[in-house]
Amino acid sequence: MSVVRRAGLVLAAPVLALVAAGLIVSALLLATGDDVAGFWSVMTALPGERAIVAIANQSAILYLSGVAAAIGFRMNLFNIGVEGQYRLAGFAAGAFAGQAWLPGYLNTVAAILVAMLVGALWAGIAGALRAYRGVSEVISTIMLNAIAGSLIGYFIKQWGERTGNATNTKAMPEGSRVGTIALFPESPVQLYGLALLAVVVGVLFWVLLNRTRFGFDLRATGASESAAVASGVDTRRMIVVTMLVSGAVAGLIGLPVMFSQSFNYGSSFQTGLGFTGIAVALLGRNHPVGIAFGALVFAYLSQQANLLNIQAGISPDIIEATQGIIVLAVVIAYVVVRRYRVRQEQAQVARQLDDEAPPGRGGPPAPTDPTDPTDPAAPAAPTPAPTPAGGAR
């Protein structure tokens, strides 16, 4: 397959899916008598500077969430607990940073580590339960999500401080805050400093998966657990470690906003990212680059949802539906394209075999090494000349 064709195939699925999703949504809007033209003019309007930055910010956050989920998915661990993990981790980091036990950026770095640690531990519970007690991580992470919410509520009621009607952790000192990066000098919205974590995590994720032994073990376990075991992978340990890593990455999700904007953990902490991350990871096929694409699509859509609501008077919920439709359309398109590719590949194998095998002779050749001691002398009986069977042809 030529490079161009290969690239074409890679792009075919998403393009196909986006077109299909667009058609479905338009039909839906038509059916309910909504302003379809308005919908498209908002959705296709070029985002302004501010919106571009906002999309970048949101993409970075969703990317972190997507990677956190994908790490588990790559070895068939369905970690739906990213939600609880990042919230608990965000709370812990906010509380820690607010205490300002360490000076300046030391405090920041320590808080980030705290977040990763707490996220890892919370995910690790599910991992350990799975590895050592056989408890399905699907159940345990659902339960742990709910417990995390109550736990944070309890802690923050005990130790939080009130600002007006909100209750927050103590604001972190000025010196520990991470600034923003001005992508456009004029824009009041700027890139969160810690949004760069997404780039770092993305690169590390790629390297981990494709260039390290651990990553190989992880992928192998995901691709075939039995084969991984036979190759010497300790799956229990892998389950625990993978959940720990997944949780540690989850721990980072809440940090960009916290360190560049809110400076504490409080009532306005963004929730739901863990669940969106699952969709983003699946949309990106758990691939470091694919997830970036997925995060971008989701961020773009939710950015436009705001405008859609205000400018076209269409419920932003349609955007959520659109996101789901895109996920489904993309995976269907992928399946179709993949089948096509597998067929191509098998055809290639077959062609190769045909080319190699001397014409008129079936099956793989017998060993050819004449000096091979295992090759017995030719049988005495003459080889009968087989007559072609059947009258056909």
């Binding site: 501010r50 919106a51 906002a54 910010n57 949101q58 919230r87 919410g149 109550s150 944070i152 509520g153 309890y154 923050i156 009621k157 009130r162 600002t163 007006g164 009607n165 909100a166 209750t167 009041p188 919205v189 906003v257 904007q261 809110s262 409080g266 009532s267 306005s268 902490f269 963004q270 929730t271 739901g272 990212l273 969106t276 939710s302 950015q303 949802a305 705001n306 405008l307 609501n309 205000i310 400018q311 008077g313 419920s315 932003p316």
Partner: protein, 353 residues
């Protein structure tokens, strides 16, 4: 105390809604030109139609449209908003040519504090907010806050007086500073009448970030209230947004002798017929007034920045009398109100422990 009983419908002045109407047609869509201000309203999670908090804001909007010829633009919140998306929403409104921008709910405080300085020509207000503690110098930013504890004190008095069993209940949405104010006032009011009254407190969630479980959870509200009625508690006050609808359902099911108390707007007016006889009163939080006044202030150039508190004295909170179930108690309730107004009684704003 005229403001409390009369004309206190969630629908405000010109509300044409029938017995159960809350949000019939959307005034912002139906009316596109007017002489008055163009008001931008950003709802809290739950949005228009919750028959309490957000609807009360909508009622003020409608009143402004009807009375000062205003026009309006609405924006909905999403459950996974963060400060940036909220700020972006306010900016989009501001750039759409509205003035003032009114954000419903304290969650908008940081966002408004950030956005207000960027648009000096637009006025911003946050219902229940604390934005001016963040952007201290902004002259175009106001926090419209309420003395919910004072209003709750009054319905607490009503509850204690009405209760025959000496056991009453409180169903709160999210267990946090805001709703605790309701709880504190309610308990104080009840105890002022019957010091040994038994008040059970139930919050639907401890999770501050789970507004849906707190304020959009009628089945939770129903379960909580049902338990209270079965336990012999005959008056239950809710401060739980839409979840309160479940409290009313439970009250209706519990039947004669059991009461529910509404919140924010006069919920008697929007309740279905079978529930109306069970709604003793409602704690009025005049968000409609606040919204209307913010609109008017822009129209006649009298914007006040900083904290604006709507309390009992200014008729910003109160109680409703629709249905006439508290008619016999009004003297005592109003007496309590007077004590608050005169400063004789200070209502706590945080629960005791």
């Amino acid at each position: 105390l005229t403001g409390c009983g009369s004309n206190s419908g969630g629908g405000g002045g010109g509300s044409d809604s029938g017995s159960g109407g809350s949000a019939s047609e959307d005034v912002c869509k139906s009316k596109t030109d007017g002489e008055g201000p163009k008001i931008g309203l950003a709802y809290d999670v739950g949005g228009r139609g919750d028959q309490s908090f957000n609807d009360s804001a909508y009622a003020g909007l409608k009143k402004a449209v009807d009375e000062i010829d205003a026009t309006c633009v609405e924006a909905n919140a999403q459950t996974d908003d963060n400060d940036t998306t909220r700020a972006e929403r306010l900016r989009t409104l501001a750039e759409g040519g509205v003035n003032p921008v009114i954000a419903v709910g304290y969650l908008y405080s940081p966002a408004a504090a950030q956005v207000a300085p960027e648009y000096p020509d637009v006025d911003f207000a946050v219902i229940d907010g604390f934005s001016t503690t963040i952007a201290k110098d902004a002259t175009n930013l106001a926090d419209l806050t309420f003395a919910e504890n004072e209003g709750s004190y009054l319905v607490g008095v009503a509850a204690a007086l009405k209760s025959e069993s000496g056991k009453i209940g409180f169903v709160g949405g999210v267990d946090g500073a805001l709703i605790q104010k309701f709880e504190a006032g309610y308990v104080a009011g009840a105890k002022s009448v019957k010091p040994d009254i038994d008040v059970e407190i139930q919050y639907l969630t401890q999770d501050q970030n789970d507004a849906a479980a707190g304020y959009e959870n009628p089945s939770g509200g129903k379960a909580a209230a049902e338990a209270m009625y079965q336990d012999g508690r005959d008056v239950v006050y809710h401060a739980a947004g839409k979840s309160g609808l479940g409290v009313f359902q439970a009250a209706a099911a519990a039947g004669e002798g059991n009461w529910a108390i509404g919140v924010d707007s006069d919920q008697y007016l929007t309740a279905p017929e079978d529930q109306q006889p069970r709604i003793l009163t409602s704690m009025l939080k005049r968000i409609d007034t606040a919204v209307f006044e913010a609109g008017s202030a822009v129209a006649d150039d009298s914007w006040k920045s900083g904290f604006v508190t709507y309390d009992l004295k200014s008729d910003g909170v109160g109680y409703s009398t629709s249905g006439g179930f508290v008619d016999d108690l009004r003297t005592q309730i109003d007496e309590a109100g007077d004590q608050i107004k005169s400063g004789e009684v200070t209502v706590p704003s945080e629960p005791e422990n």
